[in-house]
């Protein structure tokens, strides 16, 4: 085999390995080296070394182990060199002695633990919320700073700053690189699920095609959900994954060719992704069977009821209201109260729903939530109260931030006047 062909083969293999394995290699290197930056440099060095040596020596039997080993050696070498110059060699030696690495002793379970360690660390509640999102997208999903910036509609400098601050906090406040203890797992898992769902809704909301070259955040979130499901059999995990799949299934039907928002009851259901719906429904059943299900599983169940209705008219609103009753008990938030009110309006008529919405707003809740006012407007509209509907649509317009939603509200307002 000629040298260039060999190099080509190696490069392709390395590309494939990098795509599939680099995040896992990184997760393990972070544990072994005790530092995010060091681990990233080590990964880079290891890949460079592989480019050089594999064409010569052949592709190793366990490429991942090779990369980890090589990365670790290079990093330790580099740190020793720096430490020798700074005179702090002893401390470095002490640090690395704590984490031996013998590829022969390696096992898959250990590796999976490292990926969990990485996810839980990136989503640690002691990190600011936006930093958790950026760090997770960077370290767990492997997105570049630019890709993240484009996806969440902010500048690369802002993203970079968030990531640096997060890594600094991890280092300076000594956030440990571990999987939380069983008694802490439920609340820590909450934080992870929150980050994943935030990433998903960023992608979901930004579906107006503003940036055609951005990374598909919703796909990343679903990928993260699948990874978590593989690693951790807790009931809210299939619940969240189901919710994301069932919402994602409707993506093609949500926005018209002109970029207008199409509500659920007007969507062309033939555009819904049946595979995702099927998978989502199976996961909902799995989550609900476990008895320890929570808000994500319940929201997914509601989405499943919608998904199973062949037409909007055929929607089983009674079941949806029942699910909202349970959801509200489990998660008594005003937003859920609002969504339940909308469902009650569908089951019992707009007046019944309006009563609840008015109660929420007069309490002072959701005053700055555009959907609360949009819902109030819609219910008044259905009851023929043009004046009240107009007031609420106008209020909603002062609060709405996404273009498709804004157009929708403006259209409704126009219809009222016309």
């Amino acid at each position: 085999m000629s040298d260039s062909a060999g190099r080509e083969d190696v490069r392709n293999t390395l590309d494939a390995i990098y795509k599939n394995e680099s995040r896992r290699v990184l997760a393990t290197l972070i544990r072994l080296l005790g530092d995010f930056e060091l681990a990233e440099e080590a990964l880079h060095e290891a890949v460079m070394a592989a480019m050089e040596q594999w064409p010569r020596d052949g592709i190793p039997a366990n490429p991942r182990a090779w990369l980890i080993s090589a990365g670790r050696f290079k990093a330790i070498d580099q740190v020793r060199r720096r430490a020798r110059n700074a005179g702090s060699l002893d401390e470095v030696e002490r640090q690395f002695r704590q984490e031996p690495f013998d590829p022969a002793q390696w096992d898959e379970q250990h590796l999976e633990d490292d990926r969990l360690r990485l996810i839980f660390t990136c989503c640690h509640p002691a990190l600011p919320s936006e930093a958790r999102t950026a760090l997770t997208l960077r370290e767990v999903c492997g997105l570049t700073t630019e890709e993240i910036a484009r996806a969440i509609l902010t500048s690369a400098a802002t993203v970079a700053k968030r990531i640096v601050r997060a890594k600094t906090k991890i280092r300076e406040a000594r956030i440990p690189y571990i999987v939380p203890r069983p008694d802490e797992l439920p609340s820590r898992l909450d934080s992870v699920l929150q980050v994943i769902y935030l990433i998903f809704t960023e992608g979901y909301a930004a579906s107006s095609g503003i940036s055609l070259t951005r990374a598909d955040l919703s796909a990343e979130a679903i990928r993260l959900g699948r990874l978590l499901l593989e690693l951790l059999p807790e009931p809210e995990v299939p619940g969240l994954l189901a919710l994301m799949l069932l919402q994602e299934a409707r993506r093609s039907a949500r926005v018209s060719a002109q970029g207008d928002l199409i509500l659920l009851d007007h969507q062309d259901r033939s555009l819904w992704n049946r595979d995702q719906i099927e998978e989502g429904i199976k996961l909902v059943e799995r989550a609900l069977t476990s008895r320890r299900f929570g808000p994500y599983a319940l929201q997914a169940a509601i989405a499943a009821v919608h998904a199973e209705a062949p037409t909007a008219k055929a929607t089983d609103w009674k079941q949806i209201c029942g699910l909202y009753d349970v959801l509200l008990r489990v998660d008594p938030s005003p937003v859920i109260e609002l969504n339940r009110a909308i469902a009650i309006a569908m089951r019992d008529g707009p007046a019944a729903g309006l009563e609840i919405v008015e109660r929420i707003l007069s309490r002072g809740d959701l005053r700055n939530y555009y959907l609360a006012h949009a819902s109030r407007a819609d219910l008044h509209r259905r009851l023929g109260h043009r004046g009240e509907a107009t007031v609420s649509y106008q209020r909603a317009l002062t609060l709405v931030r996404q273009e498709p939603a804004r157009h929708f509200l403006e259209r409704r307002l126009k219809e009222l006047r016309g």
């Binding site: 700074a86 005179g87 956030i175 440990p176």
Partner: protein
């Protein structure tokens, strides 16, 4: 690693406790300090007297100014502190969440800095 746990609460809440509840909280706090000592976490701890006993000292250009009151007027005031030594932040959080008066307000957990005097030069 050393962490300083600064306990904050609204003094009105503390004052709203009955004599019985107040003594119970004191007993609980003292027992807690003892437990931390046994567990090897405690370096120092103690409650502060109410914020009305506070005095703030400032120095500007060599001039010392003394004023009555806390450094900053806040809705919740510093009520006490616990200085601990733990392995990592997770452990510090676990300890901090056990501090009895925290349930009246909250606690800030911040790592202490290491400092090296210029006279010490290169360590080791």
């Amino acid at each position: 690693m050393k962490y300083l746990c600064l306990v904050f609460y609204d003094e009105k809440k503390r004052n709203g406790l009955s004599d019985q509840e107040s003594q119970a909280l004191i007993d609980e706090s003292l027992d807690f300090d003892e437990a931390l000592r046994r567990e090897g976490y405690l370096i120092a701890a103690g409650p502060l007297q109410p914020v009305e006993t506070a005095t703030t000292v400032r120095v500007r250009g060599g001039n010392v100014s003394v004023t009555d009151g806390p450094f900053a007027e806040t809705n919740e005031q510093i009520a006490g502190f616990v200085l601990i030594e733990t392995q990592d932040l997770n452990e510090a959080i676990r300890v901090a969440s056990r501090i009895p008066p925290v349930r009246l307000g909250g606690v800030e957990v911040r790592p202490m800095q290491d400092r090296v005097h210029s006279k010490e030069g290169n360590s080791h």
